[in-house]
Amino acid sequence: MSEKTAPGGRILLVEDEESMAVGLEYNLTEEGYRVTRAENGTQALELFTGHEFDLIILDIMLPFKDGFEVAREIRVTSPRMPILMLTARSDSRDRIRGLEFGADDYMTKPFHLKELLLRVRRMLQRKAWYKEVTAEQPSYHFGENSVDFETLECRSGSRIFRMTALEAMVLKYLINNAGRIVSRKELLEKVWRVSAEVETRTVDNFIVRLRRHFEPDPARPRYIRSVRGAGYQFEKENARNG
């Protein structure tokens, strides 16, 4: 159906609807992934604690513990675990809540199988890339800021906070290409792993969030600078690797 990448990736499929779970398990297994299935929120957390997974596909309306709660608890111990929320709830409030609770992606039912498989593949590719680049350089300091790319914990002056996995990926890509102008198209292709025809406002929104986190004055950025008509550039000022 699609080219088989990341064979052997371990996926935790949390779905209480038997029919949906059987269909997804079959398709993911056919793509080369190893799938473990949980039927409710409590079972999902138990399985997550006892096993290693590369990605979680998580329904929201689950018995005993809903998907929001499961995502929140997983994020406490695994801030970088890719979570794809797959739910029949299409309300924008649910979508925002899902992303706030730590989901990396959100798909509503009914969905197209090809699109789901593509998103799963890209999330796993992103994870593999991130793992590779952070192994070389697990932390980074610039100005009054420090970032731990393993735990996603950051410090900006006296303020301590935690970035989302995708924010960390964007920052990491900019740092790795410090001094060079990185276009929105490039960020979309390399970090989001999507075609550059997609709305580029997504990139701008992430840059705004990163500036709020790290810039002393987000209106006049010192580290993540905009280059009109070209993209963004990370300034190496006083930076040192960890």
Binding site: M1, D16, E17, E18, S19, M20, V22, G23, L24, Y26, N27, E30, N40, M61, L62, P63, F64, K65, D66, E69, A88, R89, S90, D91, R93, T108, K109, P110, F111, H112, L113, K114
Partner: protein
């Protein structure tokens, strides 16, 4: 969020109106008392009776009555608005639940169709996917029927087919059918007691009642399911009690569970499926049979027991029962003529 804000605003306006109303009343009484005292003083100094005194008292009483009427009007409006807000909230919940219930089987069907269309699925799995799709189609059909029956229930337009049945035999048969449908496992549902009385019942409608009780027990009990149905007859009623060992229902919600769209939202619930229409439908069916339904639960974690009472076929109730049978025949004739 918007609804919440509007509600706070509405409560604030009501409180402000009450404060303004009390201030007006206070000022008005103060003014009346001071003028009354002033007039009294004038009367004491000048001989003769003041002709305005009696009309003043009438004015006071009339004013108070009018102010009380304004207050009653405001309170009634406030109550109606509150009902409206609650209904809106329940309706939103209902839409969210129905959306979920409709989209879930639809998504599964789409997934299986795309799988069969794009992959070379082995015959055994192909059969399995088709069976799952059939199950989803049945689920969609059941849900749509439930939604469509609600306007009929509200306008009392549901056509029942009442017949005299032996209560015990009927329930045993319906429980067996529910077991076939839900497959709760061997020994999960136990029927105890004897009920050698006869009742006037619509078999299909009573099947919906039993199915709903079994479905609820399955949805809200941690496995394994234990549902005990006890049958008995009193001099006037056939009594069916269905007790499970599920998560129970808080005393404050015992009546609410029969309300339309109501769903107990608990994060630790063993099930998330449902529209909030099942027990409402059950209550309407029991009422149409001249019976009553109630719920007893020791509270959260204490299991639930539904008690259904149906009038038995006896002389004392014959008039009511004959009415029901007559109504059924009339509805049957009506349907026949509609078909012709």
């Amino acid at each position: 969020m918007k609804i919440k804000t509007t509600r706070y605003y509405h409560i604030l306006v009501f409180i402000a109106a009450q404060v303004a109303w009390l201030l007006v009343l206070g000022l008005w009484i103060f003014r009346w008392v001071t003028s009354f005292l002033l007039i009294n003083r004038v009367v004491e100094t000048a001989p003769g009776e003041m002709p305005t005194r009696s009309s003043n008292i009438l004015g006071l009483v009339g004013g108070l009555v009018l102010l009380a009427a304004v207050q009653v009007g405001m309170s009634l409006n406030f109550r109606r608005l509150n009902i409206h807000f609650n209904l809106n909230r329940m309706y939103d919940n209902f839409i969210a639940n129905v959306t979920h219930e409709l989209k879930s089987p639809l998504a599964s069907i789409q997934l299986h169709l795309e799988t069969l269309g794009h992959r070379d699925v082995p015959p055994a799995r192909r059969r399995e996917f088709i069976d799952l799709m059939n199950r989803d189609v049945k689920r969609l059909d059941g849900l749509i029927n439930t939604i469509l029956v609600i306007p009929g229930l509200e306008q009392k337009k549901i056509a029942y087919e009442f017949h005299v049945h032996n209560a015990e035999n009927l329930v045993l048969d319906l429980v067996r059918k529910a077991e076939e449908q839900f497959q709760p496992g061997k020994g999960a549902i136990r029927v105890r007691g004897r009920a050698p009385c006869r009742c006037v019942v619509d078999r299909n409608a009573m099947g919906i009642v039993i199915n709903n009780l079994v479905d609820n027990a399955i949805k809200y009990s941690p496995p394994p399911l234990r549902l005990t149905i006890t049958l008995s007859c009193t001099s006037r009623w056939f009594v069916l009690e269905a007790a499970d060992r599920g998560i129970g229902i808080a005393p404050a919600d015992h009546k609410k569970v029969f309300e339309k769209f109501y769903r107990g939202d608990r994060p630790d619930s063993p099930s998330v499926k449902g529209t909030g229409l099942g027990l409402y439908w059950v209550r309407e069916i029991i009422r149409a049979h001249g019976g009553r339904i109630s719920l007893q639960s020791a509270g959260l974690g204490g299991g639930s027991e539904f008690r259904i009472e149906l009038p038995i076929y006896r002389v004392s109730r014959k008039r009511f029962i004959r009415n029901l049978i007559r109504l059924t025949q009339r509805q049957k004739k009506q349907r026949k003529s509609d078909h012709e």
